[in-house]
Symmetry: C2
Subunit: 478 residues, 2 copies
């Protein structure tokens, strides 16, 4: 199961090159450089060869040769992953298989509400294709201009629309996958219901390229909502935010399409560093909720629902102040603030990040406990914890104290992980809510999960990839 | 991987008995008899022993002993499955493991919208528990008074609420499973988002007891809708039904909680045989739609939405006639007609049944093509094809011609399967939309699916159940 660790011979590299042709095989280091580094610079790898196959048959030929020669393969699409899952290892043994040339929309059917796409399609292009037939594809991420469907599926991507529409797992009906042995599994089904044997689709989704290469998918489309309204509310505490979320869930049901929590410091960071962003409320508040409502029947329903929610929130003493967007531009501006929250931390120095989830009802307890523990460990640390309250998913980011040494602060990354993840686990939470495991959390996963669970994953890995060539060193150890 | 085929020795039976105690181990044939037969009499099995463990530890001890001694185990909960998955094989080698004593609700949390239940809980008891805290659990089946959660999960049960809430897979957050080797996997997570490794949960859901025994689950609850309205509409064709469904989807979004299609003959059968059922419309129509709308904000919204939908349907010439229920009793009466459609066929003689799905947009083509082929093969056959149009899922049932010989008609079961399933597959459909594979469709599955897909399922089976003791002969051959 352990693949070779030697760099593939030039003979082997030539055989891989022959599959895709010289012009789709990159050996030049400068050209390859952007593919060797993870987005935030956390991981840098090396690779002797980058392959850009143009068809599922070429992908199959690559994997067949890889299995035969024991050559490790790293699949890569938009290279926007945040856990190093798409980055080759540093020893230079991994060949990169990029799906970027496979970016065709194979079919779109607005009656059946389905789009069939190559794995290399950029998420934004799927949005545009859906919009052109008066439909929408709900997956919405900060990186949607460059991330690609294959990576979205391999990592079971989340984002801001999960509350109403679910993760990528819930948005996918069928898959086409090339197995590590080079066989093609055509599971491109378009069915809402299909109980015929083991759920292979959901096994590939979220497996981060370690069980096979996803080359195509059938995705669900939805009618465009007729009504859309966004509000921004100032709140006194995370307890009040949770109560307001419950109120919104009960009132709006599935029309509640977003409920994002932000701290005061996050609003300050964005107002300070992101052009065009300003605090829309007159006075500061400790916490903020961005509330998004979409309705299918009419534009008025969304307005009425939002008005009604905020009125009830005021009456119950949960909302201190609030604004409702009065134009599409204002709606976009409010979302822009939320989506810039991560970027706005960069000018403030080092930031130690976590992508965690807890049961929704435990968010206040998590926030209080974690803040106390983090400040005890690093007095003056600035906690910018924001995220998808409705999903129980918080991006628990910690900015360095003002004036602290950045490198020294970032040296505490593991300490902070231990503190924050310890609290998350004590509350029954997850150390990776939506970003996945990759390299970043691989060893930690093995440490916190029961032995039998890791053992089952290893058995599945071995059953699908006996030669151990698929993205080795990611998700699972060894 | 092949388990023993000899009947377990009395020594081995005694060791199993010792685990649960004499009073929870049944060897008496009369007492065991109802557990040996499938609901519709399609399968009759034999078993030397029925075990009723009272805890997950006892289940673990049973499976450990089974793996050690190579004794086949059939898990059983409500025994309402329709494909023979829960029925022991006829050779008398399989021990039945019933979860009926494990029927405790472990926790219920209306703030987090979660219920944690033993696998032996009856579905109706979950409904009642949810209702007692002003929540609802959406899974809704004809057999809900006797089916149990473990079986619902093992078969990824569907039912009438799938359109808005999804199958059992979408309603489950976490599982507790005893593996064939006797190890306990505690995956009882309560998280909406958790991207930490392979999706074991979805692998167990729908695996029909062949990979392990589900002993507990974390299920999602939902706010009770404030508004609920049901209408019954007479239509000219399945094409019009599809157009009306599209109109309803666009207008109501996720407030559309049911869209059931019924043929004239089905309405006649229920009016003739089911006490209290009558055709609510003055004139006969070729097809009918039962439309169900639930709204979260107010009762009026559901009424307004339904009125608006039917008005638009009339204007577009899709609806010939319609009634809207004017009381809860009338709403229940309309659903009762739909839910009795299967029972109403029994007094009409033999019925050959199919549980198929096609892409929703292909329902009219499927209906027309199948009707022509079935009537060519059996002139006078009465096609009572009804079901979940919004899911693309039709229960394509064929009642015998009036006056035909029942046994002779039922002898055509395989012929009819071949005809109907052939058309389903040519349209990219599924031969088992919601009932599963069990024994009934095991050989057919192996025949229609690509070799690599069956091979992957066998590898997973072997990885999880090396001794081959878990519900052998179900889903997979050998």
């Amino acid at each position: 199961m352990t693949p070779m660790t030697a760099i593939p011979s030039s003979d082997i590299l030539d055989r891989f090159t022959a599959i895709v042709g010289e012009k789709n095989a990159v050996r030049d280091l400068a050209e390859m450089a952007p593919r060797l580094v993870e987005n935030r610079g956390l991981y840098r790898g090396a690779s002797p060869l980058l392959l850009k196959p143009g068809s599922v048959e070429e992908v199959a030929a690559i994997l067949k040769l890889a299995s035969e020669t024991g050559t490790p393969i790293v699949p890569q699409t938009g290279n926007t992953g945040l856990v190093g899952g798409q980055t080759p290892r540093a020893d230079g043994t991994d060949i990169i298989l990029s799906l970027e040339r496979m970016n065709r929309i194979r079919d779109i059917d607005p009656v059946a509400n389905i789009i069939v796409a190559d794995a290399g399609c950029i998420l934004d292009d799927i949005h545009k294709a859906a919009s052109s037939v008066e439909r929408m594809f709900p997956l919405s991420l900060g990186s949607q201009g460059s991330c690609r469907i294959g990576g979205n599926l391999a990592t079971n991507a989340g984002g801001t629309a999960v509350l109403a529409y679910g993760n990528m797992r819930q948005l996918c009906l069928g898959l086409e996958v090339v197995l590590p042995t080079g066989e093609i599994w055509n599971g491109l089904r378009r069915l809402k219901k299909d109980n015929t044997g083991y759920d292979l689709r959901d096994l590939f989704i979220g497996s981060e390229g370690t069980l096979g290469v996803i080359t195509g998918a059938v995705l669900k489309l939805f009618p465009k909502p007729l009504g859309h309204q966004v509000a921004f509310a100032g709140l006194a505490s995370t307890e009040d935010a949770l109560k307001l979320f419950e109120m919104a869930s009960n009132l709006c049901g599935t029309a509640l399409t977003g409920f994002e929590l932000m701290p005061r410091i996050g609003v300050e960071f964005t107002a300070r560093h992101i052009p065009g962003v300003r605090d829309p409320l007159g006075q500061p508040h400790d916490w903020y909720a961005l509330i998004d409502i979409s309705t299918s029947d009419s534009a008025e329903t969304a307005d009425t629902m939002m008005q009604s929610l905020l009125e009830r929130g005021f009456e119950a003493g949960l909302v201190e102040d609030a604004v409702i967007a009065s134009s599409e531009a204002q709606r976009q501006a409010l979302w822009h603030m939320r989506e810039s929250m991560s970027d706005a931390q960069k000018p403030e120095g080092g930031s130690i990040k976590h992508d965690v989830s807890v049961p929704v009802s435990k968010i206040p307890e998590f926030m209080t406990t974690a803040e106390k523990a983090v400040l005890a460990a690093i007095p003056g640390a600035r906690i910018c914890a924001f995220g998808h309250l409705g999903d129980g998913n918080i991006h628990y980011n910690i900015s360095q104290p003002v004036g602290a040494d950045k490198a020294e602060f970032l040296g505490r990354w593991r300490d902070m992980n231990e503190i924050v993840h310890g609290i998350v686990l004590s509350l029954g939470g997850s150390i990776s809510a939506e970003h996945g495991i990759g390299q970043l959390k691989r060893d930690e996963l093995a440490a916190i999960r029961p032995g039998i669970e890791m053992e089952l994953m290893h058995r599945i890995k071995h059953a699908f990839d006996p030669a151990g060539i698929m993205n080795p060193g990611k998700v699972l150890v060894g």
